[in-house]
Symmetry: D2
Subunit: 94 residues, 4 copies
Amino acid sequence: MAHGYIADKDDYLKRLRRIEGQVRGLQRMVDEELYCIDILTQVSAATKALQTVALGLLDDHLAHCVADAARAGGPEADAKVKEASAAIARLVRS
Amino acid sequence: MAHGYIADKDDYLKRLRRIEGQVRGLQRMVDEELYCIDILTQVSAATKALQTVALGLLDDHLAHCVADAARAGGPEADAKVKEASAAIARLVRS
Amino acid sequence: MAHGYIADKDDYLKRLRRIEGQVRGLQRMVDEELYCIDILTQVSAATKALQTVALGLLDDHLAHCVADAARAGGPEADAKVKEASAAIARLVRS
Amino acid sequence: MAHGYIADKDDYLKRLRRIEGQVRGLQRMVDEELYCIDILTQVSAATKALQTVALGLLDDHLAHCVADAARAGGPEADAKVKEASAAIARLVRS
């Protein structure tokens, strides 16, 4: 079964590769013992970039999987909403 | 039009009154110049309680408004998902 | 012992009274069954306002209690940093 | 000048390499078009791991740079607290 984010797959991969680069940059900063505050700024940037990926995936998921399940109806529709809500709660609390 | 949270309205009101009490408690703590760290602990508790209210409202909203719009179809269905995603983004970033 | 936020006490109290008003506004919105998304926007605003209070208190706490303890030295200095770090962790995770 | 986290440098590097692995895992999950919710769970885990690194760096920074500056006194002490508070605000809001 095709998932909703396929259309933007390349965009997600590009973002994730950039985040991987940021995390490698963090290793270099720690290894070279750069100033803590500068490292923290970079950690905040990587965290925000991960959140943007998550919010994009969630939007795609609501627009496709959750909406499809709502149209199909039945217990699966409720289960999809519960599952999405739990994922949102994890994001809000992380 | 009835909104999804009506069933739990009393529960939401009870939670919000408890949060109002927490915020009044914070005023008392500041006024009596209590220890900062204790005040911060109380601020974190009130923030978490607000988030729990938000996650509950969002779950109800997905299960009712967004699912109903998905079943009805058309541009309104997409608009409801976009609107919900924007609200989720505000929560994640707040 | 005087705590660091006393100078700005009126400002903190004013902010907290405004947040109390926002939380009462939320009760009215739920009671009148207004649109979920509008209620969520208001929850995000109250959450952000609480965070701003917390960040202000933390800044005052670092500038006064933690700095004073650092100058006094000894195990109390380390204890104050650990306590502040734990409060920061609660804020970041809430 | 030596920074406070040197003692734990290996631990930080190990954590950051694990996060890099999580981000590469995310690329694989997106590339193989796995289920959105599973990808979101992994994004939340990577975000939390980054926050733990940030909170550790911040604790080290307060215990060393900020405390040293407080002991030295003068405008530099205040500047260090302001800088740390700004970094905390970025973390809380990211």
